[in-house]
Amino acid sequence: MFSNFGSILVVGGGIAGIQACLDLADSGYFVYLVEKSAFIGGKTAQLDKTYPVNDCPFCIRYNEHMECASHTNIEVLTLSEVKDIKGGSGNFKATIIQRPRYVDIDRCTTCGLCAEKCPAKVNDEFNEGMGKRKAIYLEYSRAVPNGYVIDKKNCLHFTEEGCNICREACNEKAIDFDKKEKDITLNIGSIILATGFDSVIPSYYDYDKFSNVITSMEFERIMSLHGPCGGHLIRPSDRKEPKNIAWLQCIGSRDIQHNYCSTVCCMYAVKQASLAKQSNRMLNAAIFFMDMRVCGKDYERYYNRAKDEDDVRFVRSRVHNVFPVDGTNDLLIRYADEQGKISEEIYDMVVLSLGLEPSQDAVKLARGLGIGLDKNNFIETSSFAPVNTSVPGIYACGAFNAPKDISESITEASAAACASLLNMAVSKAALYDESLEKTWQKPVSTGLVVGGGVTGMVSCLCLADQGYKAYLIEKTDKLGGHALKLRKTFKGEDVTSYVKELIDKVENHPLIDVCFNSEVKHTDGYAGNFSTRIAISSSTETKKIKHGITIMSTGADFFRTSEYLYGKNPRVLSWFQLDKMLDEKPNEIKKANAWVFILCVGSREPERPYCSKICCSNAIQNALELKKVNPDMEIYVLYRDMRTYGLREGLYTDAQDKGIVFIRYKLDGKPEVEEDRDGRLKVRIFDNILGEDLIIQTDFITLQTAIVPGNHDNLAKLFNLPVNQDGFFKEAHQKFRPVEFFAKGIYLAGLVHSPKPIDEAISQAQAAAAKAVTVLSKEYITTSNEVASIDLKLCVACLTCARICPFGAVIITGMGEPYVEPAKCRGCGICVVECPTRAMVLEHFKNDSILTKCKALLEPFMGYVQ
C-alpha cells in the first residue's frame, strides 16, 4: 500500500506525539508512533481538567486518540522502545523493540471478564498508585488502543507459572501467552522526539511518609471523575473531605539542582486550588509560592479569578518543610511572610507542585543519537528553529525541549511536523478514506499570510518550501515587523541578522509573492477555496487572490505609556529604545552609573489584566547587556513577579550573579519617578523586605511596557474571527487547538494570538503552516455531510442565521439573501432552530422528522400499563 521509505518516526505517544502524527498523516505522510507504555495519551490523559478553561482533556482529545489509532497513515507501536537508530537525515534505520501485549487487540472486546477473574492485584500507576488494577488491564475504559494488556511483571502466568485464569475467561480467545518480544526495523526519513517529561520525585517534604502529602498528579487523579475517588475531593489517609489544603510550589524547580522554572506548576496549582474551592466553598485553599508565573494567554485572568472569586489564598513564601501534627494525619506548615513574620498553619492535605524533568529514557536515547542537551538535559535548540535538534533530520517537541504546557506542546508538535516535512523529499503515503462523501473540488494550493513580521515570514517560507504558493500581505513598506527592533533572544542569538536573512529568503523565494503597503479589503469562501481582495495603497486597483488557507500573523503592538515620565524625560526609555541605544550609543551607557528597569508597565493592571510574558526576560537580558558594556553600573530591576519561566530562569540567576539588584513592588505601591531640579532621575520604591522606602538615583530608566493587540478589528470583521477580552484573536480551543480558528482553513500565529517571545512565535508559525498543509495537500475539499439550506421563499432576511452561526458559514448576499457556504457549514443546526420564519433547513435534521421521532419514542412502553 505505501512505501516505508520517507516515512516518519515519532517517539512518544503523549499529547505532542499524537498531534505530530495526526498533522503528518493528514498531510499525506506515513508515520510510526512508538510509545513505551501500552496505551497512548501520555500524561495529559491523567489530568482531570486543563487550565485556563477547565476542560476535561480526555473528553476533548478522545477523538484524536481514536483517529491516531485508526488513521490509515499511522501505525501505532505500543509497548515499544527505540533500541537503536543508525544512518542520517533522510535515511535513518531504526530498530524498535516491541514487547508483546499478550492480548489480541482485534479480538478483545473489552468485555472485562479477564480482569474480573484475574487474581493479581497491583497498584494502578495510571491513578498514581492510588487504587488497584489487575495484572490484565485497560488503563481506563476508553483507553487507546482499546484492548486489554497483560502486565508481565505482575502476571501470575509468568511470575508463578501457569496461571491461565484470564485465558480461560476470555470468550474471544484473545489471550496468547506465547507471544514474544520482537524487533522491528524501520526505514525512516525523519524522527520526531516527543518523549515528554518525568515529574521530579521529591526527596524531601516527607512525601513518602505522610499519606496526606501528595503530588500534583495524585491530586489530579483524586479530582478526576474516573479516578480512584470518583471525583470526590478526599484525602488519602482517612478518605474524609479536607477542609484545608496547601499547595507548595517549586518542588523540584528553581533550585540549585534545577536551574529552570517548570513553567506549568503555578497554573496547575491555581487550577487545582480553584477547582477544589468550587467543589467545596468552605475549603481553605492556600498556595505557597515564590513568584506567581502565570504568563500565558488568559492565565492572568484565571489567576485573578482564583484570587478574587474563588478566594484561593496566595502566600508569597517558600515552605521549607511539612511537619506532622501529633495524633492526627494533619500537617503543619511553617512559613515566613514577606515581613519576616513566621506563621504556622495546619492543613489536612498538602499538594506538592512537582516540577518537570526530561524523561530519563529519552535523555539516554538522545545522548545515544548525539543530540546536544543543555545542562539540565533539555534538548538544545535555537530560538529560530525551536524544534530542530543538533542532529539533522531529528526534531523534538514538547516538554523535552523545555518545560511547557499542553498548548505549547501541541503547537510545537505541529511545528515539528512542519519542520520534518520540510526536511524530506518523500513520497506521500496512501490517500484518504474513499467512503467519505466529497464535493469534487480541488483546494486552491495557495496560502494567504496576513502580516509580514517574523511569524508571517516563517509561515510563508514553510508553505513555499513545501511547494505551495504564498501571498504575504504587509501593510507597511518593509518586512520584519517589531523584530527589526530586537537585538537578541534570551539565548543570546542575534535577531537582527536572523531577520535580515529571513527577509532575504522571503523576498527571493519564487513561490512567495509579497504585497507591500497592502490591506485586505474583502474576503469570501471557505477552506480550500477562499477569494480575497487586497487593496494596495499605492494604486487604486485592488488585487484578487484565490487561496486555500489563510494565516493571520499581524502581530501586536506595544503600549505607549504616560507613566514614569515617559515621553517627558529623554532618559526614560522604552525597551526598544534601549535596544537601539545598546547598538548605537555604547558610550553613553559606559558613562551611566545607575540604571533602573521598571517591569509590568501597563501589564497586569485592571485595564490590561494580562501578562505580556516577554518583558521580564527582556529586561534581564538587556540588563545583562548593560553590565557587559559597563560592569560597574548599578542596575535595579523593579518587578512584581519575576516571570522568567522555563529555561529563562537561567537569565535571572545569571543577573543575580552579576550583581543586578531585584526589588519587588506591589500594584498598590508602584514606583514613583521624579526629576529633580538638576534633571536627575530618582525612583522611589517601597522595599517589602526592608519595610522601608528606597530612593534610587539613576541615569536612565527603562520601562518594560505591555504588549497590546494590534489593530485587527477590521480583519476580525472581514474574516468573521472572534477576539478575546484583551483584544487578541481567539483560537478554536485554548489548550488543544492553539493555532486554528473555529472556521476551517484560517489559522493564527504569533503575537496576534497573545504576547510571546520570538521562539514561541516561530513555532506557532510553523504549526500554523503544518495545519495549513493538511488542507492544501488534500486532493479534494471535503465537506460535512449535513449542510444547512434555506428556503428563500420563506426567508425574510432577518439575519438571525448569519448572526448566530458559530462558523460564519451564512452570509447575506448583496441581494439581501442568505447563502450557506457548504465548506464552512458544519451542520450543527443552531441556525435551524432559531430561524423565526422556519426558512432554514438541515437535511438530516428536519423539524418534522425530529417531531415525528419524538412522537414515536413517546409511545408507551411495551407492557407498560397506564
Binding site: 470518583g230 458544519r826 432552530v833 421521532k853 412522537k855
Partner: protein, 142 residues
C-alpha cells in the same frame, strides 16, 4: 387497571460527548432505566423551544437535554444556547403550571458513562416522584 407509574422521559442528546457517554454506558453494559428515550441531535444547540414543548405536549413526563461540557461544544456555543433556552422554557412551563423539574439540561464529558447512568436514574426518580405529566392526568379525566 392501574400499574406502577413508569415515567417516560425524552432525552435530546448531543451527538458528541453525551452520546459518547451513552454509547459507552451501553457498551460497558451499564444499567440505566429504560424510561429514558434518546433522540440524538447534531448539537444540543439545535434543540429548539418547540422541540421541548412538543415532547411534553406529546406526553413526555420529563425532558432532558444532554450537551457537552461548558466550553466544550464542538460548535462553540451550542450548549450555552441550550442552557439559556432551557431557562426560558422553564419560565414557559411556569405559566402552564407544569413542574419545572420535568425539564433539565445536563452537561457531559465524553467518557462519563457512570455519570450518564447515574443521572438517568436520578432523572427517572425525580420524574417518578413528580408523577405523570399533568397533561395525562387531566386528559384521562375526560
Amino acid at each position: 387497571m392501574k400499574g406502577k407509574f413508569e415515567p417516560l422521559i425524552l432525552a435530546f442528546c448531543c451527538n458528541y460527548c453525551p452520546s459518547c457517554s451513552a454509547d459507552l454506558a451501553k457498551s460497558a453494559k451499564l444499567q440505566y432505566p429504560p424510561n429514558i428515550r434518546i433522540i440524538k441531535v447534531p448539537c444540543i444547540g439545535a434543540v429548539g423551544i418547540i422541540h421541548i414543548l412538543k415532547a411534553l405536549e406529546n406526553g413526555a413526563d420529563g425532558v432532558c437535554l444532554m450537551g457537552c461540557l461548558e466550553g466544550k461544544c464542538e460548535y462553540s456555543t451550542g450548549n450555552f444556547r441550550a442552557m439559556k433556552r432551557v431557562q426560558y422554557v422553564k419560565k414557559l412551563l411556569g405559566k402552564l403550571s407544569i413542574e419545572k423539574e420535568r425539564l433539565e439540561l445536563y452537561n457531559f464529558a465524553a467518557a462519563e458513562a457512570y455519570r450518564f447512568c447515574k443521572l438517568a436514574r436520578e432523572v427517572t426518580e425525580t420524574v417518578r416522584t413528580l408523577g405523570p405529566t399533568p397533561l395525562k392526568i387531566n386528559n384521562s379525566k375526560i
